[in-house]
């Protein structure tokens, strides 16, 4: 019995030491990984700082004119931080961005439109004519404000316009029926219900979610989407980096300008059994 009790105590002691060791290892690994992410955060912040003061020359000299229309999506809770929004817009003006759409799901930015515009010099509300206005000077910016009602609800309203046209045709004209439900007609109908904004080239998402939160779906077919993190931690350098990256992108829009290989023709004939 004494031997058995002794062994039991030894095992128990070893188990406790083992548990303690595992706990220590766990916390050590946790510390290492936390340190890694802390270092990563420092590097990101440092890079952003170096970009903003112009030391990283790679990010200078990009062609801002490639960015014809920028969209900024802000998570609704963060949209209440109007000073941050104004700061962001001021940076965009400094970079030479001429047209921007501000979006949040609940329309908080729409409601704060006046207070935002009054703080910016040379800012006006977006009008369709602005798109082609060459007189917009370097420091002028036109701002569109959008919310959920400009997205799915607007598509439903535009669809209703098309339905009324369709019902007016009656049963007589099948060819005309087919011409009503086309993408071009839907675009016209959206313009008619007041959703005139163009397709953004770039969409920046500020908030915890890496999604576009219901930005008007019709307009983002080929839009580059970049998640920028929380509005609380906006950095000028990060903004420059995102826009620079956009200007370097080449889009094929699903088509291809490269010739298909002749080897593939041979492969095709093999697959089809010829």
């Amino acid at each position: 019995m004494d031997f058995r009790d002794g062994m039991h105590k030894v095992y128990s002691f070893i188990a406790q030491i083992g548990n303690l060791g595992l706990h220590v290892l766990w916390y050590f690994l946790h510390f290492i990984v936390s340190l890694w992410y802390f270092a990563l955060g420092i590097v990101c912040a440092l890079e952003s700082y170096l970009i903003s003061i112009g030391i990283l020359k790679r990010y200078e000299g990009f062609d801002i004119n490639k960015l014809r229309y920028l969209a900024v999506v802000v998570e609704s809770e963060e949209a209440y931080q109007i000073p941050k929004i104004i700061e962001l817009l001021q940076w965009l003006v400094a970079l030479g961005v001429k047209r921007v759409c501000l979006y949040d799901t609940e329309g908080i930015l729409k409601k704060s439109k006046d207070s935002i515009l009054v703080k910016l010099n040379n800012a006006t509300v977006f009008e369709e004519a602005d798109q082609s206005n060459p007189l917009l000077d370097h420091k002028h910016i036109s701002v569109e404000f959008a919310s959920f009602s400009d997205g799915k609800e607007a598509v439903a309203k535009a669809a209703n316009l098309l339905f009324r046209k369709y019902l007016k045709l009656g049963d007589s004209d099948k060819i005309q029926e087919e011409k009503i439900f086309t993408e071009a007609r839907m675009t016209e109908a959206l313009t008619a219900v007041g959703c005139r904004g163009p397709e953004p080239d770039l969409l920046l998402v500020y908030g915890p979610a890496r999604c576009h939160l219901g930005f008007p779906a019709w307009r983002i077919r080929y839009t580059e989407i970049i998640h920028m993190g929380s509005l609380n931690s906006i950095k000028y350098g990060s903004l420059i980096k995102a826009i620079y990256r956009f200007t370097m992108v080449q889009q094929n829009y699903g088509k291809c300008s490269l010739p298909f290989d002749s080897d593939c023709s041979r492969l095709l004939s093999i697959i089809s059994g010829n």
Binding site: L29, H30, I32, V33, S34, Y37, E75, S76, E77, T105, E106, F148, G151, K152, E153, V155, A156, N160, L162, F163, L167, F181, T182, E183, M186, P208, A209, R210, C211, H212, L213, G214, A217, W218, R221, Y222, T223, E224, I225, H227, M228, G229, S230, S233, S238, V249, Q251, Y253, G254, K255, C256, F260, D261, D263, C264, S265, L267, L268, I271, S272
Partner: protein
């Protein structure tokens, strides 16, 4: 190596904070179809019954919290959906992946096949064939890990403008792939659905698609949705066309048409979970390229540098971890 180690360690530490560019305060969660929320809200916030059970919405304004209240019977139905998911042993999941946080619907834009081939001095067709193998791997992983729906963007309406030879090759590849997979789909209880304008496809392929959809329509373990000759705008326009015919036939009133009705007529309503929880796009491009425009409003977007033929288990794991880190934070 460092990336893999970091990934493995991060699985264990749910309280870990990530750099700002991958902030993880959670917002996006699996969807509840909008028609279920019709009685409570006109908005379509991200929500799920699991969310309601945890009754936390740190990022939502109070108005949105009201939108999360759904009747108890719908909550039970949601739970039933989850409970009816293929039963999994947690052992079959990789470490750190939680079954209860798994996305129900994953969508993939399979980009980078041609680049992959060019980098290896191979013909472009080889890239597409390698891409088919990646797809098969992904389907197996989804079945194994309990994901209910996988939607893949195989051919866009814009792709019709590619050289005829390439288009024909892709159609042949697709036809061959469907024929090869039909048998295994029936055996493994996989349902195959195809969305897009199939009237533009070759007749033989069109008939094959109708046949395979009919043959597998009762399978319930897993659903593979292949988007061929599809675009988000096409989907919206065809939904409007279908509603217009119903209005003309007197089935619905014009005044009843709203965004919920449009959603019900989208082609993605061939599944119980029409809204992807997670979208993965390979090859480093940061756009959705006219794919499921309406459905992706609250979908977690995951863009990876890997080219599609190289996309394997490790990359998929990384995408799921990114998704689950947001889910975990939301529920805590």
């Amino acid at each position: 190596m460092v990336k893999t180690l970091t990934m493995v360690f991060s699985l264990r530490f749910s309280s870990l904070s990530l750099p700002p560019h991958s902030t993880i305060t959670l917002y996006t969660v699996p969807h509840v179809p909008n028609h279920r929320l019709r009685s409570t809200s006109n908005l379509s916030p991200p929500s799920s019954t699991l969310l309601i059970k945890h009754s936390l919405c740190p990022c939502a304004a109070p108005k949105q919290q009201q939108h999360l209240l759904v009747p108890e019977e719908e909550e039970e139905e949601e739970l039933k959906c989850i409970n009816e998911a293929p039963s999994l042993e947690n052992d079959s999941l990789p470490p750190g992946i939680r079954r209860e946080c798994m996305p129900r619907h994953v969508a993939v834009i399979m980009d980078g096949n041609r680049r992959w081939a060019r980098l290896r001095d191979l013909p472009v067709g080889s890239g597409y064939e390698a891409g088919v193998k990646s797809l098969k791997t992904l389907i197996e992983l989804c079945c194994k890990w309990g994901i209910r729906v996988l939607t893949v963007f195989a051919f866009s309406t814009d792709n019709w403008f590619r050289p005829n030879v390439e288009v024909e090759f892709l159609m042949s590849l697709f036809e061959g792939g469907v024929k090869d997979e039909m048998g295994s789909s029936l055996r493994e209880n996989i349902r195959i659905s195809v969305i897009g304008d199939i009237s533009k496809l070759p007749k033989s392929l069109e008939e094959l698609i109708i046949n395979v959809e009919e043959s597998t329509k009762n399978n319930s373990q897993f659903q593979l949705i292949v988007a061929v000759s599809y675009s988000g705008r096409y989907d919206l326009v065809q939904a409007c066309q279908r509603i217009a015919m119903k209005v003309k036939d007197g089935i619905i009133e014009l005044n009843d048409v709203n965004e919920s009705l449009i959603e019900q007529e989208l082609e993605t309503n061939c599944t119980d979970f029409p809204y992807p929880d997670l979208l993965i796009r390979t090859s480093g491009e940061l756009r959705i390229s006219n794919f499921m425009l309406w459905q992706l409003a609250y979908t977690e977007l995951f863009f990876t540098q890997s080219l599609w033929p190289d996309f394997g288990e490790a990359d998929f794991l990384e995408a799921l971890q990114s998704f689950q880190q947001r889910w975990r934070r939301y529920g805590e």
